[in-house]
């Protein structure tokens, strides 16, 4: 079974499928359990980081991190435009060494995080190299990240009230969808990054991931469309290719267009979000808002 032998980690979920295909569930499942049982034993043996606390290995891991991870997570693991800050002690997808190993080895379904095995990240990482990266991340982990000094309760009021952030952004399934969902952004982006996004929203749009083949990258560009009958629509780009355009208008109505049937369209790499300068948002309120984002992302 060459097709399966290369993906030990993912073998278990396929057992049922394969068995069904062979129409002989008991025997095939038994056989496969025997075969993949070995893989499972090997995986269990990898619960513990063999290099835990080794400063020299952490340095090696830093090189591995730069090679394989920094493209999205930034130099120093502090989060780039694409991937979360990994120096936080509280990681959304698991904090134990084994969970971190698993996340790097197998990727995180439903996110842009690919598997590190051959064909995934970079040149493909060996188990040893993954443990080196885990060791490195432990060495740069900030034990108690500086919590934004603000008042999260007031931040929440601002978000859903006076500042009207929730018109476009969702937190815990409440709010709009013209901008990115911010339920977990406090955990995944540095406070500096978030502050900049408020003060100067167009400076860096939310970035798509590396290759369009993996997931379509939504970058929240602004778009102005004039349809064949002269109707003008403005909103944000949901997805597009050479021939088609999906957009959400200001009322979150989804429009699906063929570009050559439009009278015109203009896509600008500018955020539809207003600039929250000192006048619109004082430094104190900014801290309160950040405190709220930080708090809610820990839930």
């Amino acid at each position: 079974m060459p097709a399966l032998s290369t993906s030990q980690g993912a073998a278990a979920p396929f057992l049922g499928v394969v068995a069904n295909r062979f129409r002989c569930p008991t025997r095939v499942t038994l056989l496969l359990t025997l075969i993949f049982g070995f893989a499972a034993v090997r995986a269990l043996a990898q619960e513990n980081n063999p290099y835990a606390g080794d400063a020299k290995i952490a340095k090696v891991g830093e090189y591995q991190f730069r090679l394989n991870c920094a493209f999205c997570h930034g130099l120093g693991a502090r989060g780039g435009g694409r991937g979360p800050d990994l120096t936080r002690a509280q990681k959304r997808h698991g904090n134990s060494d084994a969970e971190m190993f698993h996340n790097i080895h197998d990727g995180i379904p439903g996110t842009a995080m690919p598997a590190a095995t051959n064909g995934g990240i970079g040149v493909g990482m060996s188990d040893e190299e993954i443990w080196q990266v885990v060791t490195y991340l432990r060495s740069v982990q900030v034990k108690a990240p500086a919590q934004p000094a603000g008042n999260p309760e007031h931040g929440k009021e601002l978000f859903h009230g006076a500042l009207a952030c929730s018109t476009c952004h969702m937190i815990e399934r409440r709010g709009g969808r013209l901008g990115p969902d911010l339920s977990t952004v406090g955990a995944s982006r540095s406070t500096e990054y978030l502050a900049e996004s408020l003060r100067n929203p167009s400076r860096r749009l939310a970035q798509g991931i590396f290759e369009a083949m993996k997931e379509f990258p939504q970058e929240y560009e602004s778009v102005l469309v004039v349809t064949a009958d002269g109707t003008k629509l403005s909103g944000v780009v949901l997805n597009q290719d050479q021939f088609t355009l999906q957009m959400l208008d200001a009322r979150e109505q989804l429009h699906l267009f063929e570009k050559d049937k439009l009278r015109s369209f203009e896509i600008r790499r500018e955020s539809a979000m207003p600039v929250y300068d000192q006048k619109a948002l004082s430094d104190k309120d900014l801290q309160d808002l950040l405190a709220y984002l930080f708090e809610v992302s820990g839930k």
Partner: protein, 546 residues
Amino acid sequence: MDAPHVSPSEEVGRDGNMKRILTAATVLLGFCLGGVSARGQVTPERLLESAKEPQNWLMYSGDYAGRRYSRLDQINTKNAASLVPKWAYQTMAGGKFETTSLVVDGVLYATGADDRAFALDARSGRPIWQYQRSLPPDIRPCCGRVNRGMAILGDKVFLGTLDAHVIALDTKTGNVAWDVGTSDYSKGYSITLAPLVINHLVLIGVSGGEYGIRGFIDAYDAATGARKWRFYTIPGPGEPGHETWEGDSWKIGGAPAWITGTYDPATNTTFWTTGNPSPSNRGQGREGDNLYSNSLLALDPDTGKLKWYFQFTKHDEHDYDATQVPVLVDDGDRRLIVQANRNGFFYVIDRSSGKLLSATPYGRVTWSNTKDASGVPIERKEASPTLTGVPVCPGAIGATNWMSPTYDPQTKLFYVTAREQCDIFSTAPQPYEAGHAFYGSAYFPNDDAQPFWGAVRALDPATSQIKWELKHLSPSWSGVLSTAGGLVFTGDAEGNFMALDAASGKILWHFQCGASVYASPMSYAIDGKQYVAVAAGATLFAFGLP
């Protein structure tokens, strides 16, 4: 060498003529070979005369000149808008699908991820046989478990494998006829390219520039698999060029040859290109030009002896592999090789001497701003990667990459998939360890720049000027095919496969494949009907007229 002109009246679609030509060719071949070759089998002579059978696609680039040009014109600018999918074949494999199919007399041969290979009825896409290699779990392919295709001769098709073997499969059954190891996969050697058959030899190179290998190009006896010669792309002690490496760095200097070469029968010379020196983005420790990394090599196909070389990027620090198909172009009396290089320059080279005629940027270039006395672009000192990083264009993926360009002898234009992306290159000093990634550096997207984008560009080799450009929203990994129908076929990262007017770049037709096109298209005909085939996602698609 320009192949004899085939007028439209002799093309497929005018059945009678085609059949007459084929019958004559078969009779002639049978006579010449004294009946040794079974009817229908591919002979070295048929490979030489591939232009005479435009219904077939006999090698990776379609012909020895590497032009990826089809002489079929049934699908043309007038009817391309009506193209429809004719069949789809699912490999059920994840990852990238980079194959170029071969078609011989109605049978299509192609490869898939994880060293799959299969033969299909080229009319229906129905499989005749399927093969998949049992690979060791610890192979180290750098950039996906990919394969780009096969070569064919006699009753065998040939492919290189991710565990660095070359194997021959029986064309009728897919059974392994022979299997030879080339090198140690655990040290990072792997093979992804389609081999090239010349006479009775199977020529093939190796990947592994990310692991500190020592690159080579091999030739194997097509009948037995016995190795006839090996050319190391890094000269050993005592050989000319060895002095271009510091200390023992030559032993782990990379220079892989991971894209299929081309061949000029007139001078019996085969042309191969090589990749980056290792570690790819850190020059310290390997002072010197690092021959023959990032070079064009002119080899005698019978002996593997080097006739001449031309190095595109000396002492490379930006991963500018020269592994783009070196295309043979004849411009009047001039016998040329043209290459749109990953480093952003379009090179025109005299193919009898290896002398550089011109090097002109075809995209944004900041790594070089000077040329040496012979006109070769030289690295700007400030472009050398540092610990904190420096922005350089093109980025690490290059102004183009392995995806095939095409040369259309009708428009006399060269078409290439180009990428506009700058990266920040930073060093990460790293000791060599066998089988481990050996970049010596890292790169990051330059976030301040505009988002990356791509294009198909039509270049005139006579002037090196860009005639037209079709912009892609994001950079594409699709190769380009040109046809006698006045068309250029290519795909994009958003999954569209398209037919363009070769003269203007205007899009005449498109089809959404549902996954990025990560392969170079080809064309063939059967029963008087022309098809265009391309891989996307896990699927091989064939398109034709309704």
